[in-house]
Subunit: 196 residues, 2 copies
Amino acid sequence: MEAPQHEERRTQVRGAKFRALVLDATIARIAEAGIDHVRFADVADKAGVHEASLYRRWKTVPRLLIDALLTRTQAEVPIPDTGSVRRDLKMFTTDLARFAQTPIGTALIRFTVASDNAPDIESSRREFWMQRLSAAEEIIERGKKRGEVDPGADARLVVLTLGGLIHLHVTHLGTGIPTTLPGQAVALILPGITPS
Amino acid sequence: MEAPQHEERRTQVRGAKFRALVLDATIARIAEAGIDHVRFADVADKAGVHEASLYRRWKTVPRLLIDALLTRTQAEVPIPDTGSVRRDLKMFTTDLARFAQTPIGTALIRFTVASDNAPDIESSRREFWMQRLSAAEEIIERGKKRGEVDPGADARLVVLTLGGLIHLHVTHLGTGIPTTLPGQAVALILPGITPS
DNA sequence: TCTCCATCGCAAAAAAACTTGCGATATGAG
DNA sequence: CTCATATCGCAAGTTTTTTTGCGATGGAGA
């Protein structure tokens, strides 16, 4: 029932190829078992690699997870630019919702929340999200230039509000995010940032 | 360096008293070491109780945590009723922010997000939050009756939005929540639910 | 008060997680 | 192409976590 899920390999693999192999196996393991059930032993088996090598290279499971998630999650949520703040925000929220509901997206959200004392992991997570949030703030900034948005509006607050909503839905409601939610959320917030 | 932190007890304790002792020790342990560093061994020592008893009664650490957090966290965030939706929402958000920043509040938020496959835990967590959120929706409903809020406004959406914002702040920004945030957040949302 | 029994402490043992020494081999530098 | 070296597989060992059998006891009910 737990047959090795890798093809037999005669030669030893190491370096970049080794890393890629392990990272892919990690992502696959996250997707199939959930981020809380990823163990070095499983990943090693799936990657056709030895467990001890994982201990040596990544030292701890959280380190492996953050490495895999961050390097395998580039630009999953694009920043739209349609010329309309409403459309942009709705698209952004919709894309975010879709990604948040994939196994990897859920894992990323859950993992980002899980506290961990290792400072390097903590900073990696923070940098990751700050980067994403700052990118999304661009939607608001463009709206300001077009006169669609009140210049005094807090771009970060808007992004955090929408992001937090999706976040809560995924983590607490568990059930799927209604397709109408992004539109409703944007409609709720938009009047608060339109020029008076 | 790790001296037993409990008073010596000659007699054996069990039943409700045993449970209370362990739950208190668990809360104390969460507060002092963070929810990720709570182990049966520590809690048992602090409670002056045997580790194996914890394994038998709660089986896993997450079960103990959810039990302790839920039974020791009653009505930490009151639902205000000042006659003004703006004031009510602001007070609610402020109280939520304050609680969210206590060690127990943070633990509760973080833990609620952490995935766990045990179905009973999952449902406990969901029920807990749904109960809190539903209570907060009352603020909006009262506003509708007073004509302050558009009857078509989605009370749950409002609550989820504010809650999600605080949630995100605690989990991602790590740093303290600015005292101005609750007011800003309410100001952002209010125009979206006022009668047109 | 007395008895019964579920619950607890204790200790031993099983399982899981993590570490380490050593020989082998990719891989990159010269 | 050849060599030096860091990285990997392997297996044995160590530590931490979880389980279990058994005797003891507190507490509920007769």
